[in-house]
């Protein structure tokens, strides 16, 4: 028995959410009295994987089939299923990402496993009962769920677990091949369109988000400049995406993206319950709004009552001076 952690890689690096998954997986392994092995897929060099040792991973299996650089569900599932069989893994830990959800759901059926997504805490293990806490009702509540099958797949929500910063051991990287055929790549994308140079919203530790209080797309540079000064990703409220000031993939809220960064700065967003659902697991929330009655202030840690056009430039200046 062992714990298997799925490591997503992009642009030669391990994604931060996968470091969190590794930290989670090795903690589960030590509770269960076993070891955690990782399986890495995607565009990465072996040298970038040895650092997983700091998260408690001793061995990393790397399938460097270049066809895996783009996500292809059936091929990814095959690689992970083979690694899980080889390592005799009863617990598989993934990131709660689009890739994690696509793999986890198919793998759960193949392995007859229990699957919990959106998991926010380490499991409670007592005898044969294995219970995890997951976010439900779009961030408005948590549910404690028992995973009743022998095999368990856990998709860990971003920022739910600390990454170990201390220099730990070095993981050894072993080549691994699932002997994939062309048929496994039948649903390979014919084209991939990447956004240029931005910080990924779903991976970001800091997020600056704007709403209708910005008055128009011509003022959006305030959000971008503040984000740049802080090293943050940018996001927006649903009305802003609906009127087309910003693309839908930046829309944070109940029917958009759920974020859980360390810092969420909301500028000119009133804080409708649907928006709060998408952000309320952020560690620190700052609200800037000219309406002192804006409901968002009740969910905030820090607040400024004022016009975005006057307040944000002061914040940019202070952030640049850091």
């Amino acid at each position: 028995m062992s714990v298997l952690v799925v490591i997503e890689c992009a642009n030669g690096e391990v994604k931060k959410s996968s470091l969190e998954a590794a930290s989670y997986g090795s903690k589960v392994a030590s509770t269960l009295g076993t070891t955690a092995t990782a399986v890495a897929i995607g565009d990465v060099q072996p040298g970038a994987l040895t650092g997983l040792g700091a998260q408690g991973i001793s061995k990393v299996l790397l399938d460097n089939d270049t066809r895996l650089h783009n996500f292809v569900g059936s091929a990814y599932v095959k690689v992970i299923a083979k690694a899980a069989a080889q390592e005799n893994s009863n617990v598989i830990v993934l990131s709660n990402s689009n890739i994690g959800a696509a793999i986890g759901s198919r793998l759960a059926v193949q392995l007859g496993a229990s699957l919990a997504t959106n998991v926010v805490a380490l499991p409670e293990i007592s005898g044969a009962t294995f219970t995890v806490r997951r976010g439900v009702f779009s961030g408005k509540a948590f549910s404690n769920v028992e995973l009743t099958a022998d095999k368990k797949i856990i998709a860990v929500k971003k920022n739910a677990i600390e990454i170990e910063e201390a220099a730990g051991g070095t993981a050894t990287v072993e080549n691994f091949s699932a002997d994939l055929s062309d048929a496994d790549f039948a649903t390979a994308p014919k084209e991939t369109i990447k956004q240029s140079g931005d910080i990924l919203l779903t991976e970001a530790d800091l997020v600056v988000s704007g709403g209708r209080g910005l008055k128009g797309p011509e003022n959006w540079h305030l959000i971008e400049d503040l984000a740049k000064a802080l090293g943050a990703a940018t996001a927006c409220s649903k009305p802003v995406a609906d009127v087309g000031w910003r693309p839908h993939h930046e829309h944070v809220g109940q029917t958009g993206i759920t974020v859980s960064p360390n810092l969420y700065i909301a500028v000119g967003i009133s804080g409708a319950i649907q928006h709060l659902a998408g952000v309320n697991s952020s560690k620190v929330i700052v609200v800037i709004n000219k309406d002192p009655e804006a409901p968002f202030f009740k969910a905030a840690d820090y607040g400024i009552v004022g016009d975005a056009m006057e307040v944000v430039p002061k914040l940019i200046e202070a952030a640049k001076a850091l």
Binding site: G73, S105, V109, L115, K140, T187, L200, V287, Y302, G303
Partner: protein
Amino acid sequence: MKILVCISNVPDTTTKITFTPDGKEFNTSGVQFVINPYDEYALTRAIELKEAQGGSVTVLNVGEADTEPNIRKALAIGADDAIRVNIKPTDAFLVSQQIAHYAKEGGYDLILMGRESIDYNGFQVHGMVGELMGIPTVAPAIKLEVNGTTATLEREIEGGKEIIDVALPLVASCQQPMAEPRIPNMRGIMTARTKPLKVVEPVGQEAKTSVQHYELPPAKSGVKMIDAENAGELIKLLRNEAKVL
């Protein structure tokens, strides 16, 4: 083209979530239920495809009789007929088994659903149904076109999107900007009353998870206000007090 759209019955997005005192059940008293907003994107796109290319749209809901008002609403928006699998949807695998069974039986070309329900937030059913049926899943899909026996989809990935050609049949879990949801008109509401809604029994009741209890997140301790004139002070507090910068 035969399209199956799976819909969930969920609390309205403005609902204040509370639980029974023992924390075991969601407190439904006074709660208005709606079609899961993500499922509405799937439903609207299905109706658009039917209008453009012909065929039929069937909606499927796994749920008890109290979901029927929202199934009728889906019929009013433009679906042709409906299936309700009579079991409480307590687990993603349980729900997926029902969908896979009735989807196979109906021989659909496209099985569409929302990326996740806004109550359970599993984002699991799409892949489970695809795996149970042995067909591809595209999730989350933001655009869908059908040309004969092939569909072209755009799939959102972290930091961009992919364009994929997939042979039918397939499963797609939808999110915006897939389609602009529609409000049923009076004629739709009238005709929905007589459209067929078939109630069928569940096929197997195996679940892989069991909810023990629910909890609400801890309340925020209160907001610290900073004067707009000294807005720069905020940055110092974020660094020295909150330690997030």
